[in-house]
Point group: C2
Chain length 314, copies 2
Protein backbone atom coordinates (compact mmCIF):
# COMPACT_ATOMS: atom_id res chain seq x y z
CA UNK A 1 0.00 0.00 0.00
CA UNK A 2 1.35 3.42 -0.96
CA UNK A 3 1.18 5.45 2.26
CA UNK A 4 1.92 9.16 2.58
CA UNK A 5 4.72 10.28 4.88
CA UNK A 6 5.42 13.59 6.58
CA UNK A 7 7.31 14.84 3.52
CA UNK A 8 4.03 14.52 1.60
CA UNK A 9 2.37 16.71 4.22
CA UNK A 10 5.10 19.30 3.70
CA UNK A 11 4.61 19.16 -0.08
CA UNK A 12 0.84 19.45 0.38
CA UNK A 13 1.31 22.53 2.55
CA UNK A 14 3.40 24.21 -0.14
CA UNK A 15 0.84 23.34 -2.79
CA UNK A 16 -2.30 24.47 -0.95
CA UNK A 17 -0.83 27.26 1.22
CA UNK A 18 -2.17 30.07 -0.91
CA UNK A 19 -5.71 28.68 -1.03
CA UNK A 20 -6.40 27.63 2.57
CA UNK A 21 -6.90 29.78 5.66
CA UNK A 22 -4.06 29.44 8.14
CA UNK A 23 -6.68 29.09 10.85
CA UNK A 24 -6.17 30.74 14.24
CA UNK A 25 -5.25 28.89 17.44
CA UNK A 26 -7.53 30.09 20.23
CA UNK A 27 -7.47 29.74 24.00
CA UNK A 28 -10.02 30.16 26.78
CA UNK A 29 -8.95 30.85 30.34
CA UNK A 30 -12.45 29.82 31.51
CA UNK A 31 -12.21 26.37 29.92
CA UNK A 32 -8.59 25.97 31.05
CA UNK A 33 -9.83 26.51 34.59
CA UNK A 34 -12.66 23.98 34.21
CA UNK A 35 -10.31 21.29 32.83
CA UNK A 36 -7.20 22.15 34.85
CA UNK A 37 -4.94 22.16 31.79
CA UNK A 38 -3.65 24.52 29.09
CA UNK A 39 -5.73 24.07 25.94
CA UNK A 40 -4.98 25.28 22.41
CA UNK A 41 -7.87 25.04 19.96
CA UNK A 42 -6.95 24.79 16.26
CA UNK A 43 -9.98 26.37 14.60
CA UNK A 44 -10.67 24.36 11.45
CA UNK A 45 -14.31 25.38 11.88
CA UNK A 46 -13.03 28.70 10.51
CA UNK A 47 -11.41 26.96 7.52
CA UNK A 48 -12.90 27.63 4.08
CA UNK A 49 -16.13 25.63 3.55
CA UNK A 50 -16.31 25.35 7.36
CA UNK A 51 -14.14 22.26 7.88
CA UNK A 52 -10.61 20.80 7.63
CA UNK A 53 -11.90 18.78 4.65
CA UNK A 54 -10.94 21.67 2.38
CA UNK A 55 -7.24 20.98 3.02
CA UNK A 56 -7.32 17.43 1.71
CA UNK A 57 -9.70 18.22 -1.16
CA UNK A 58 -7.52 21.13 -2.20
CA UNK A 59 -4.40 18.96 -2.18
CA UNK A 60 -6.13 16.29 -4.26
CA UNK A 61 -7.39 18.83 -6.81
CA UNK A 62 -4.10 20.69 -7.21
CA UNK A 63 -2.13 17.42 -7.41
CA UNK A 64 -3.93 16.42 -10.64
CA UNK A 65 -2.01 16.60 -13.90
CA UNK A 66 -3.28 19.11 -16.46
CA UNK A 67 -4.72 16.22 -18.43
CA UNK A 68 -6.61 14.82 -15.42
CA UNK A 69 -7.73 18.26 -14.36
CA UNK A 70 -9.44 18.85 -17.70
CA UNK A 71 -11.77 15.95 -16.99
CA UNK A 72 -12.57 17.09 -13.44
CA UNK A 73 -13.05 15.31 -10.10
CA UNK A 74 -15.86 13.30 -8.55
CA UNK A 75 -16.91 11.92 -5.19
CA UNK A 76 -19.86 10.56 -3.27
CA UNK A 77 -20.51 12.32 0.00
CA UNK A 78 -23.41 13.68 1.99
CA UNK A 79 -21.27 16.01 4.01
CA UNK A 80 -18.36 18.37 4.32
CA UNK A 81 -16.14 16.62 1.75
CA UNK A 82 -18.59 17.30 -1.10
CA UNK A 83 -18.63 21.05 -0.45
CA UNK A 84 -14.86 21.10 0.06
CA UNK A 85 -14.17 19.27 -3.21
CA UNK A 86 -16.59 21.48 -5.13
CA UNK A 87 -14.94 24.64 -3.82
CA UNK A 88 -11.39 23.34 -4.42
CA UNK A 89 -12.37 22.39 -7.99
CA UNK A 90 -13.84 25.84 -8.60
CA UNK A 91 -10.52 27.40 -7.56
CA UNK A 92 -8.73 25.38 -10.23
CA UNK A 93 -11.54 26.10 -12.68
CA UNK A 94 -12.49 22.45 -13.16
CA UNK A 95 -15.68 20.43 -12.76
CA UNK A 96 -16.70 18.57 -9.59
CA UNK A 97 -19.29 15.79 -9.98
CA UNK A 98 -20.93 15.04 -6.65
CA UNK A 99 -23.02 11.97 -5.98
CA UNK A 100 -25.27 12.76 -3.03
CA UNK A 101 -27.89 10.58 -1.34
CA UNK A 102 -31.40 11.91 -2.01
CA UNK A 103 -32.00 12.34 1.74
CA UNK A 104 -29.07 14.75 2.22
CA UNK A 105 -30.09 17.81 4.20
CA UNK A 106 -31.25 20.87 2.24
CA UNK A 107 -28.42 22.88 3.76
CA UNK A 108 -25.79 20.46 2.43
CA UNK A 109 -27.40 20.29 -1.01
CA UNK A 110 -27.40 24.08 -1.17
CA UNK A 111 -23.80 24.34 0.03
CA UNK A 112 -22.55 21.85 -2.59
CA UNK A 113 -24.51 23.56 -5.36
CA UNK A 114 -23.45 27.00 -4.11
CA UNK A 115 -19.80 26.06 -4.63
CA UNK A 116 -20.59 25.03 -8.22
CA UNK A 117 -20.79 21.25 -7.74
CA UNK A 118 -22.65 19.19 -10.36
CA UNK A 119 -24.93 17.00 -8.29
CA UNK A 120 -26.31 13.55 -9.13
CA UNK A 121 -28.78 12.21 -6.58
CA UNK A 122 -28.97 8.53 -5.70
CA UNK A 123 -30.66 6.21 -3.21
CA UNK A 124 -29.31 6.66 0.32
CA UNK A 125 -27.28 3.43 0.50
CA UNK A 126 -23.53 2.97 0.28
CA UNK A 127 -24.07 0.53 -2.60
CA UNK A 128 -26.11 3.05 -4.61
CA UNK A 129 -23.58 5.79 -3.90
CA UNK A 130 -20.65 3.72 -5.10
CA UNK A 131 -22.51 2.41 -8.15
CA UNK A 132 -23.67 5.89 -9.16
CA UNK A 133 -20.20 7.34 -8.75
CA UNK A 134 -18.75 4.48 -10.86
CA UNK A 135 -21.25 5.36 -13.60
CA UNK A 136 -20.34 9.05 -13.44
CA UNK A 137 -16.63 8.17 -13.62
CA UNK A 138 -17.24 5.88 -16.62
CA UNK A 139 -19.25 8.57 -18.43
CA UNK A 140 -17.09 11.60 -17.71
CA UNK A 141 -13.58 10.29 -17.02
CA UNK A 142 -13.35 12.35 -13.80
CA UNK A 143 -10.78 11.38 -11.16
CA UNK A 144 -12.60 10.08 -8.08
CA UNK A 145 -11.43 11.66 -4.82
CA UNK A 146 -12.43 9.55 -1.83
CA UNK A 147 -13.13 11.54 1.37
CA UNK A 148 -10.39 9.72 3.32
CA UNK A 149 -9.05 6.62 1.48
CA UNK A 150 -6.79 8.82 -0.58
CA UNK A 151 -3.06 9.51 -0.44
CA UNK A 152 -3.34 13.24 -1.22
CA UNK A 153 -6.33 13.75 1.04
CA UNK A 154 -4.49 12.25 4.04
CA UNK A 155 -1.40 14.36 3.31
CA UNK A 156 -3.55 17.51 3.02
CA UNK A 157 -5.36 16.90 6.31
CA UNK A 158 -1.98 16.63 8.05
CA UNK A 159 -1.30 20.32 7.41
CA UNK A 160 -3.67 21.41 10.21
CA UNK A 161 -1.63 19.68 12.94
CA UNK A 162 1.58 20.90 11.28
CA UNK A 163 0.39 24.50 11.60
CA UNK A 164 -0.72 23.92 15.18
CA UNK A 165 2.60 22.50 16.30
CA UNK A 166 4.52 25.20 14.44
CA UNK A 167 2.50 27.84 16.37
CA UNK A 168 2.62 26.08 19.76
CA UNK A 169 5.72 23.88 19.73
CA UNK A 170 5.62 22.66 23.33
CA UNK A 171 2.45 20.59 23.22
CA UNK A 172 2.32 17.41 25.32
CA UNK A 173 -0.76 15.98 23.64
CA UNK A 174 -2.90 16.46 20.54
CA UNK A 175 -6.51 15.30 20.52
CA UNK A 176 -8.12 14.71 17.15
CA UNK A 177 -11.54 13.29 16.14
CA UNK A 178 -11.62 10.02 14.22
CA UNK A 179 -14.24 8.97 11.64
CA UNK A 180 -12.79 7.59 8.42
CA UNK A 181 -9.35 8.44 9.77
CA UNK A 182 -8.06 10.93 7.20
CA UNK A 183 -7.61 13.77 9.69
CA UNK A 184 -6.23 11.43 12.36
CA UNK A 185 -3.70 9.76 10.04
CA UNK A 186 -2.51 13.12 8.68
CA UNK A 187 -2.29 14.54 12.19
CA UNK A 188 -0.23 11.57 13.41
CA UNK A 189 2.18 11.92 10.47
CA UNK A 190 2.83 15.57 11.36
CA UNK A 191 3.04 15.21 15.12
CA UNK A 192 5.34 12.21 15.19
CA UNK A 193 7.67 13.91 12.69
CA UNK A 194 7.76 17.25 14.49
CA UNK A 195 7.80 16.24 18.15
CA UNK A 196 9.65 13.59 20.11
CA UNK A 197 7.25 13.48 23.02
CA UNK A 198 3.86 14.81 21.89
CA UNK A 199 1.17 12.13 22.21
CA UNK A 200 -1.57 11.67 19.62
CA UNK A 201 -4.95 10.80 21.12
CA UNK A 202 -7.99 10.10 18.96
CA UNK A 203 -11.48 11.00 20.18
CA UNK A 204 -14.46 8.93 19.07
CA UNK A 205 -18.13 8.68 20.10
CA UNK A 206 -18.87 5.55 22.19
CA UNK A 207 -21.86 5.05 19.90
CA UNK A 208 -19.65 4.84 16.81
CA UNK A 209 -16.57 3.18 18.27
CA UNK A 210 -15.35 1.18 15.26
CA UNK A 211 -11.94 2.89 15.32
CA UNK A 212 -11.49 2.05 19.01
CA UNK A 213 -12.45 -1.58 18.43
CA UNK A 214 -10.26 -1.82 15.33
CA UNK A 215 -7.31 -0.25 17.16
CA UNK A 216 -7.62 -2.78 20.00
CA UNK A 217 -8.12 -5.75 17.65
CA UNK A 218 -5.36 -4.82 15.21
CA UNK A 219 -7.62 -5.17 12.17
CA UNK A 220 -10.45 -3.10 10.75
CA UNK A 221 -13.86 -3.77 12.27
CA UNK A 222 -16.44 -1.79 10.27
CA UNK A 223 -19.01 0.27 12.13
CA UNK A 224 -22.43 -1.29 12.37
CA UNK A 225 -25.30 1.17 12.00
CA UNK A 226 -23.82 3.71 14.43
CA UNK A 227 -26.08 6.37 15.96
CA UNK A 228 -24.41 9.50 17.26
CA UNK A 229 -24.98 13.24 17.16
CA UNK A 230 -21.45 13.49 15.72
CA UNK A 231 -22.64 12.93 12.16
CA UNK A 232 -19.18 13.44 10.65
CA UNK A 233 -17.84 10.39 12.49
CA UNK A 234 -20.24 7.70 11.28
CA UNK A 235 -17.94 6.19 8.65
CA UNK A 236 -15.65 3.20 9.16
CA UNK A 237 -11.85 3.47 9.12
CA UNK A 238 -10.13 3.47 5.76
CA UNK A 239 -7.28 1.01 5.08
CA UNK A 240 -4.33 3.33 4.42
CA UNK A 241 -5.51 5.48 7.33
CA UNK A 242 -5.57 2.47 9.64
CA UNK A 243 -2.01 1.47 8.68
CA UNK A 244 -0.76 4.90 9.78
CA UNK A 245 -3.00 5.02 12.85
CA UNK A 246 -1.81 1.60 14.09
CA UNK A 247 1.79 2.77 13.92
CA UNK A 248 1.58 6.37 15.11
CA UNK A 249 -1.48 6.96 17.31
CA UNK A 250 -0.98 6.48 21.04
CA UNK A 251 -4.54 6.02 22.23
CA UNK A 252 -8.20 6.17 21.21
CA UNK A 253 -10.66 7.39 23.84
CA UNK A 254 -14.43 7.10 23.40
CA UNK A 255 -16.95 9.59 24.78
CA UNK A 256 -20.64 9.68 25.63
CA UNK A 257 -23.27 11.62 23.69
CA UNK A 258 -23.90 13.74 26.80
CA UNK A 259 -20.25 14.79 26.99
CA UNK A 260 -20.25 15.69 23.29
CA UNK A 261 -23.23 18.01 23.74
CA UNK A 262 -21.75 19.50 26.92
CA UNK A 263 -18.43 20.16 25.19
CA UNK A 264 -20.14 21.66 22.15
CA UNK A 265 -22.17 23.98 24.31
CA UNK A 266 -19.11 24.98 26.32
CA UNK A 267 -17.23 26.07 23.19
CA UNK A 268 -20.26 27.95 21.87
CA UNK A 269 -20.90 29.73 25.19
CA UNK A 270 -17.37 30.36 26.38
CA UNK A 271 -15.47 30.83 23.13
CA UNK A 272 -18.28 32.18 20.89
CA UNK A 273 -17.22 29.68 18.24
CA UNK A 274 -19.66 27.52 16.31
CA UNK A 275 -18.39 23.96 16.20
CA UNK A 276 -20.19 20.83 15.06
CA UNK A 277 -20.63 17.80 17.36
CA UNK A 278 -17.87 15.93 15.50
CA UNK A 279 -15.42 18.63 16.60
CA UNK A 280 -16.66 18.63 20.20
CA UNK A 281 -15.57 15.02 20.81
CA UNK A 282 -12.05 16.37 21.48
CA UNK A 283 -13.06 18.50 24.45
CA UNK A 284 -15.48 15.76 25.54
CA UNK A 285 -12.45 13.49 26.14
CA UNK A 286 -11.11 16.04 28.61
CA UNK A 287 -14.47 16.62 30.31
CA UNK A 288 -14.82 12.90 30.99
CA UNK A 289 -11.20 12.26 32.01
CA UNK A 290 -10.07 15.46 33.74
CA UNK A 291 -7.79 13.83 36.26
CA UNK A 292 -5.65 12.24 33.55
CA UNK A 293 -4.82 15.58 31.95
CA UNK A 294 -4.04 17.95 34.84
CA UNK A 295 -1.46 20.61 34.00
CA UNK A 296 -0.77 19.32 30.48
CA UNK A 297 -0.44 21.44 27.34
CA UNK A 298 -3.03 20.05 24.96
CA UNK A 299 -3.89 20.86 21.35
CA UNK A 300 -7.43 20.13 20.17
CA UNK A 301 -8.40 20.07 16.53
CA UNK A 302 -11.82 21.68 16.13
CA UNK A 303 -12.52 19.90 12.88
CA UNK A 304 -15.56 21.79 11.59
CA UNK A 305 -18.48 24.12 12.20
CA UNK A 306 -21.20 23.06 9.80
CA UNK A 307 -24.35 22.79 11.88
CA UNK A 308 -28.01 23.15 11.01
CA UNK A 309 -28.93 26.09 13.27
CA UNK A 310 -32.56 25.02 13.37
CA UNK A 311 -31.66 21.63 14.90
CA UNK A 312 -29.51 22.37 17.92
CA UNK A 313 -29.22 19.94 20.84
CA UNK A 314 -29.71 22.69 23.42
CA UNK B 1 -17.83 68.73 30.20
CA UNK B 2 -14.53 66.85 30.41
CA UNK B 3 -14.38 64.83 27.18
CA UNK B 4 -11.74 62.22 26.33
CA UNK B 5 -9.60 62.74 23.24
CA UNK B 6 -7.61 60.31 21.13
CA UNK B 7 -4.58 60.68 23.40
CA UNK B 8 -6.74 59.21 26.18
CA UNK B 9 -7.48 56.21 23.94
CA UNK B 10 -3.73 55.75 23.44
CA UNK B 11 -3.15 55.94 27.20
CA UNK B 12 -5.97 53.46 27.78
CA UNK B 13 -4.44 51.03 25.30
CA UNK B 14 -1.12 51.14 27.14
CA UNK B 15 -2.84 50.61 30.48
CA UNK B 16 -5.09 47.68 29.48
CA UNK B 17 -2.96 46.09 26.74
CA UNK B 18 -1.74 43.23 28.89
CA UNK B 19 -5.24 42.32 30.11
CA UNK B 20 -7.37 42.43 26.98
CA UNK B 21 -7.37 40.11 23.96
CA UNK B 22 -6.09 41.82 20.83
CA UNK B 23 -9.06 40.32 19.00
CA UNK B 24 -8.66 38.96 15.47
CA UNK B 25 -9.94 40.70 12.34
CA UNK B 26 -11.77 38.15 10.19
CA UNK B 27 -12.97 38.12 6.61
CA UNK B 28 -15.46 36.04 4.63
CA UNK B 29 -15.24 35.78 0.85
CA UNK B 30 -18.83 34.47 0.81
CA UNK B 31 -20.20 37.55 2.59
CA UNK B 32 -17.98 39.88 0.52
CA UNK B 33 -19.61 38.39 -2.57
CA UNK B 34 -23.13 38.85 -1.16
CA UNK B 35 -22.51 42.50 -0.26
CA UNK B 36 -20.20 43.42 -3.13
CA UNK B 37 -17.62 45.01 -0.84
CA UNK B 38 -14.51 44.10 1.16
CA UNK B 39 -15.47 43.55 4.80
CA UNK B 40 -13.21 43.33 7.85
CA UNK B 41 -14.87 42.08 11.02
CA UNK B 42 -13.29 43.14 14.32
CA UNK B 43 -14.21 40.26 16.60
CA UNK B 44 -15.02 41.77 19.99
CA UNK B 45 -17.34 38.80 20.51
CA UNK B 46 -14.04 36.98 21.16
CA UNK B 47 -12.99 39.61 23.72
CA UNK B 48 -12.77 38.52 27.36
CA UNK B 49 -16.26 38.31 28.94
CA UNK B 50 -17.61 38.08 25.38
CA UNK B 51 -17.90 41.80 24.57
CA UNK B 52 -15.98 45.04 23.95
CA UNK B 53 -17.29 46.22 27.34
CA UNK B 54 -14.25 44.64 28.97
CA UNK B 55 -12.00 47.28 27.38
CA UNK B 56 -13.77 50.23 29.00
CA UNK B 57 -14.32 48.47 32.32
CA UNK B 58 -10.67 47.48 32.44
CA UNK B 59 -9.54 51.05 31.75
CA UNK B 60 -11.84 52.39 34.48
CA UNK B 61 -10.62 49.85 37.03
CA UNK B 62 -6.91 50.29 36.32
CA UNK B 63 -7.25 54.10 36.25
CA UNK B 64 -8.30 54.16 39.92
CA UNK B 65 -5.82 55.44 42.50
CA UNK B 66 -4.62 52.92 45.08
CA UNK B 67 -6.86 54.62 47.60
CA UNK B 68 -9.95 54.36 45.40
CA UNK B 69 -9.10 50.81 44.37
CA UNK B 70 -9.15 49.67 48.00
CA UNK B 71 -12.83 50.60 48.22
CA UNK B 72 -13.75 48.86 44.95
CA UNK B 73 -16.08 49.72 42.07
CA UNK B 74 -19.83 49.56 41.53
CA UNK B 75 -22.37 49.77 38.74
CA UNK B 76 -25.93 49.01 37.84
CA UNK B 77 -26.33 46.91 34.74
CA UNK B 78 -28.33 43.95 33.54
CA UNK B 79 -25.90 43.08 30.82
CA UNK B 80 -22.38 42.81 29.50
CA UNK B 81 -20.99 45.76 31.49
CA UNK B 82 -21.67 44.05 34.84
CA UNK B 83 -19.71 40.94 33.88
CA UNK B 84 -16.93 43.03 32.34
CA UNK B 85 -16.56 45.21 35.42
CA UNK B 86 -16.57 42.21 37.75
CA UNK B 87 -13.85 40.49 35.75
CA UNK B 88 -11.72 43.64 35.45
CA UNK B 89 -12.04 44.18 39.22
CA UNK B 90 -10.99 40.60 39.90
CA UNK B 91 -7.83 41.16 37.84
CA UNK B 92 -6.90 44.09 40.07
CA UNK B 93 -7.93 42.10 43.13
CA UNK B 94 -10.65 44.55 44.19
CA UNK B 95 -14.37 44.30 44.86
CA UNK B 96 -17.13 44.93 42.30
CA UNK B 97 -20.61 45.72 43.63
CA UNK B 98 -23.22 45.06 40.97
CA UNK B 99 -26.80 46.28 41.19
CA UNK B 100 -28.87 44.07 38.91
CA UNK B 101 -32.62 44.17 38.22
CA UNK B 102 -34.35 41.14 39.71
CA UNK B 103 -35.59 40.09 36.26
CA UNK B 104 -32.09 39.78 34.77
CA UNK B 105 -31.64 36.53 32.88
CA UNK B 106 -30.23 33.56 34.79
CA UNK B 107 -27.31 33.41 32.39
CA UNK B 108 -26.33 37.01 33.16
CA UNK B 109 -26.71 36.54 36.90
CA UNK B 110 -24.47 33.48 36.72
CA UNK B 111 -21.89 35.25 34.54
CA UNK B 112 -21.64 38.22 36.93
CA UNK B 113 -21.40 35.96 39.98
CA UNK B 114 -18.93 33.68 38.19
CA UNK B 115 -16.53 36.59 37.76
CA UNK B 116 -16.74 37.30 41.50
CA UNK B 117 -19.22 40.21 41.42
CA UNK B 118 -21.11 41.06 44.63
CA UNK B 119 -24.71 41.32 43.48
CA UNK B 120 -27.52 43.40 44.97
CA UNK B 121 -30.89 42.82 43.32
CA UNK B 122 -33.44 45.62 42.87
CA UNK B 123 -36.75 46.32 41.16
CA UNK B 124 -36.42 46.39 37.35
CA UNK B 125 -36.81 50.16 36.91
CA UNK B 126 -34.13 52.73 36.11
CA UNK B 127 -35.16 54.65 39.24
CA UNK B 128 -34.72 51.62 41.51
CA UNK B 129 -31.39 50.79 39.90
CA UNK B 130 -29.99 54.28 40.41
CA UNK B 131 -31.34 54.55 43.96
CA UNK B 132 -29.95 51.15 44.95
CA UNK B 133 -26.55 51.94 43.46
CA UNK B 134 -26.52 55.29 45.34
CA UNK B 135 -27.17 53.39 48.57
CA UNK B 136 -24.38 50.90 47.83
CA UNK B 137 -21.98 53.78 47.05
CA UNK B 138 -22.95 55.55 50.30
CA UNK B 139 -22.43 52.38 52.36
CA UNK B 140 -19.21 51.12 50.81
CA UNK B 141 -17.46 54.13 49.27
CA UNK B 142 -17.01 52.30 45.95
CA UNK B 143 -16.33 54.31 42.80
CA UNK B 144 -19.34 54.04 40.47
CA UNK B 145 -18.43 53.12 36.89
CA UNK B 146 -21.25 53.99 34.52
CA UNK B 147 -21.53 51.67 31.48
CA UNK B 148 -21.05 54.55 29.02
CA UNK B 149 -21.31 58.01 30.68
CA UNK B 150 -17.72 57.74 31.83
CA UNK B 151 -14.51 59.32 30.58
CA UNK B 152 -12.33 56.21 31.06
CA UNK B 153 -14.94 53.85 29.69
CA UNK B 154 -15.26 55.84 26.45
CA UNK B 155 -11.46 56.00 26.08
CA UNK B 156 -11.20 52.24 26.68
CA UNK B 157 -13.86 51.38 24.10
CA UNK B 158 -11.92 53.40 21.51
CA UNK B 159 -9.08 50.87 21.61
CA UNK B 160 -11.03 48.34 19.49
CA UNK B 161 -11.24 50.68 16.47
CA UNK B 162 -7.62 51.72 17.03
CA UNK B 163 -6.53 48.08 16.74
CA UNK B 164 -8.72 47.56 13.68
CA UNK B 165 -7.31 50.55 11.81
CA UNK B 166 -3.76 49.62 12.81
CA UNK B 167 -4.32 46.15 11.28
CA UNK B 168 -6.19 47.32 8.16
CA UNK B 169 -5.09 50.91 7.53
CA UNK B 170 -6.88 51.50 4.23
CA UNK B 171 -10.48 51.36 5.42
CA UNK B 172 -13.00 53.65 3.74
CA UNK B 173 -15.72 53.19 6.33
CA UNK B 174 -16.21 51.85 9.85
CA UNK B 175 -19.63 50.70 10.99
CA UNK B 176 -20.27 50.56 14.72
CA UNK B 177 -23.41 49.80 16.77
CA UNK B 178 -24.86 52.58 18.94
CA UNK B 179 -26.74 52.14 22.22
CA UNK B 180 -25.53 54.40 25.02
CA UNK B 181 -22.79 55.60 22.68
CA UNK B 182 -19.64 54.55 24.55
CA UNK B 183 -18.34 52.30 21.79
CA UNK B 184 -19.39 54.74 19.06
CA UNK B 185 -17.78 57.78 20.72
CA UNK B 186 -14.54 55.88 21.39
CA UNK B 187 -14.53 54.53 17.84
CA UNK B 188 -15.02 58.01 16.38
CA UNK B 189 -12.15 59.40 18.48
CA UNK B 190 -9.77 56.75 17.11
CA UNK B 191 -10.89 56.80 13.48
CA UNK B 192 -10.88 60.57 13.05
CA UNK B 193 -7.42 60.77 14.64
CA UNK B 194 -5.91 57.95 12.59
CA UNK B 195 -7.49 58.46 9.16
CA UNK B 196 -8.17 61.49 7.02
CA UNK B 197 -10.87 59.93 4.91
CA UNK B 198 -12.38 56.98 6.82
CA UNK B 199 -16.08 57.57 7.52
CA UNK B 200 -17.72 56.58 10.80
CA UNK B 201 -21.24 55.20 10.39
CA UNK B 202 -23.36 54.19 13.37
CA UNK B 203 -25.84 51.31 13.10
CA UNK B 204 -29.01 51.38 15.19
CA UNK B 205 -32.25 49.36 15.26
CA UNK B 206 -35.22 51.27 13.75
CA UNK B 207 -37.16 50.15 16.81
CA UNK B 208 -34.71 51.89 19.17
CA UNK B 209 -33.74 54.90 17.06
CA UNK B 210 -33.13 57.50 19.77
CA UNK B 211 -29.55 58.09 18.60
CA UNK B 212 -30.72 58.68 15.03
CA UNK B 213 -33.40 61.12 16.18
CA UNK B 214 -31.01 62.88 18.56
CA UNK B 215 -28.34 63.15 15.85
CA UNK B 216 -30.83 64.76 13.45
CA UNK B 217 -32.29 67.07 16.10
CA UNK B 218 -28.96 68.15 17.58
CA UNK B 219 -30.04 67.42 21.14
CA UNK B 220 -30.60 64.21 23.11
CA UNK B 221 -34.04 62.65 22.67
CA UNK B 222 -34.30 59.72 25.11
CA UNK B 223 -35.59 56.40 23.87
CA UNK B 224 -39.19 55.66 24.72
CA UNK B 225 -39.84 52.02 25.67
CA UNK B 226 -37.89 50.61 22.71
CA UNK B 227 -38.52 47.00 21.63
CA UNK B 228 -35.78 45.32 19.64
CA UNK B 229 -34.03 41.98 19.57
CA UNK B 230 -30.77 43.95 19.93
CA UNK B 231 -31.01 44.04 23.71
CA UNK B 232 -27.65 45.75 24.14
CA UNK B 233 -28.90 48.84 22.28
CA UNK B 234 -31.97 49.74 24.36
CA UNK B 235 -30.34 52.55 26.35
CA UNK B 236 -30.48 56.24 25.49
CA UNK B 237 -27.41 58.23 24.45
CA UNK B 238 -25.14 59.54 27.19
CA UNK B 239 -24.21 63.24 27.26
CA UNK B 240 -20.42 63.13 26.86
CA UNK B 241 -20.90 60.45 24.20
CA UNK B 242 -23.34 62.64 22.29
CA UNK B 243 -20.93 65.60 22.31
CA UNK B 244 -18.28 63.44 20.61
CA UNK B 245 -20.78 61.76 18.28
CA UNK B 246 -22.21 65.11 17.07
CA UNK B 247 -18.73 66.26 16.12
CA UNK B 248 -17.12 63.12 14.72
CA UNK B 249 -19.74 60.67 13.43
CA UNK B 250 -20.68 61.01 9.75
CA UNK B 251 -24.01 59.21 9.65
CA UNK B 252 -26.43 57.05 11.64
CA UNK B 253 -28.33 54.38 9.70
CA UNK B 254 -31.25 52.46 11.21
CA UNK B 255 -32.12 48.87 10.37
CA UNK B 256 -35.14 46.57 10.58
CA UNK B 257 -35.49 43.67 12.99
CA UNK B 258 -35.60 41.29 10.00
CA UNK B 259 -32.26 42.54 8.71
CA UNK B 260 -30.69 42.17 12.17
CA UNK B 261 -31.75 38.51 12.35
CA UNK B 262 -30.66 37.85 8.75
CA UNK B 263 -27.24 39.42 9.42
CA UNK B 264 -26.83 37.49 12.66
CA UNK B 265 -27.66 34.23 10.96
CA UNK B 266 -25.29 35.01 8.09
CA UNK B 267 -22.34 35.51 10.45
CA UNK B 268 -23.20 32.34 12.39
CA UNK B 269 -23.57 30.23 9.24
CA UNK B 270 -20.85 31.65 7.04
CA UNK B 271 -18.22 32.67 9.58
CA UNK B 272 -18.97 30.17 12.39
CA UNK B 273 -18.85 33.04 14.85
CA UNK B 274 -21.43 33.55 17.57
CA UNK B 275 -22.50 37.18 17.67
CA UNK B 276 -25.36 38.79 19.53
CA UNK B 277 -28.10 40.76 17.73
CA UNK B 278 -26.56 44.06 18.90
CA UNK B 279 -23.41 43.20 16.93
CA UNK B 280 -25.38 42.14 13.84
CA UNK B 281 -26.81 45.64 13.28
CA UNK B 282 -23.52 46.53 11.53
CA UNK B 283 -23.89 43.94 8.77
CA UNK B 284 -27.63 44.65 8.66
CA UNK B 285 -26.80 48.19 7.46
CA UNK B 286 -24.99 46.68 4.48
CA UNK B 287 -27.69 44.11 3.75
CA UNK B 288 -30.32 46.86 3.54
CA UNK B 289 -28.21 49.37 1.59
CA UNK B 290 -25.96 47.28 -0.66
CA UNK B 291 -25.89 49.69 -3.57
CA UNK B 292 -24.41 52.48 -1.42
CA UNK B 293 -21.38 50.41 -0.43
CA UNK B 294 -20.22 48.66 -3.63
CA UNK B 295 -16.48 48.08 -3.79
CA UNK B 296 -15.71 49.86 -0.50
CA UNK B 297 -13.35 48.63 2.20
CA UNK B 298 -15.46 48.46 5.33
CA UNK B 299 -14.63 47.64 8.95
CA UNK B 300 -17.44 46.28 11.14
CA UNK B 301 -17.20 46.11 14.90
CA UNK B 302 -18.77 42.85 16.08
CA UNK B 303 -19.43 44.18 19.55
CA UNK B 304 -20.30 41.01 21.46
CA UNK B 305 -21.34 37.38 21.46
CA UNK B 306 -23.36 36.88 24.62
CA UNK B 307 -26.52 35.08 23.55
CA UNK B 308 -28.87 32.74 25.36
CA UNK B 309 -28.51 29.63 23.20
CA UNK B 310 -31.94 28.39 24.21
CA UNK B 311 -33.65 31.50 22.81
CA UNK B 312 -32.42 31.88 19.24
CA UNK B 313 -34.43 33.74 16.60
CA UNK B 314 -33.93 30.99 14.03
Amino acid sequence: MNLPSYSDVVKAHQLIGEFIHKTPVMTSSAINKIIGAELYFKCENLQKTGAFKFRGACNAVFSLTEEEAKRGVGTHSSGNHAAALAYAASLRGIKAHLVMPSNSSEIKKRAAAGYGGLITYCQPTLEAREKTLAEVVAQTGVTPVHPYNNFNVIAGQGTAAKELLESIPELDIIICPVGGGGLLAGTALSIKALSKHCQVIAAEPKNANDAYRSFMAGYIIPSDNPKTIADGLLTSLGEPNFEIIKEKVDQIITVSEEAIVEAMRMVWERMKLIIEPSAAVTLAVLLENKSDFQGRRIGLILSGGNVDLTKLPF
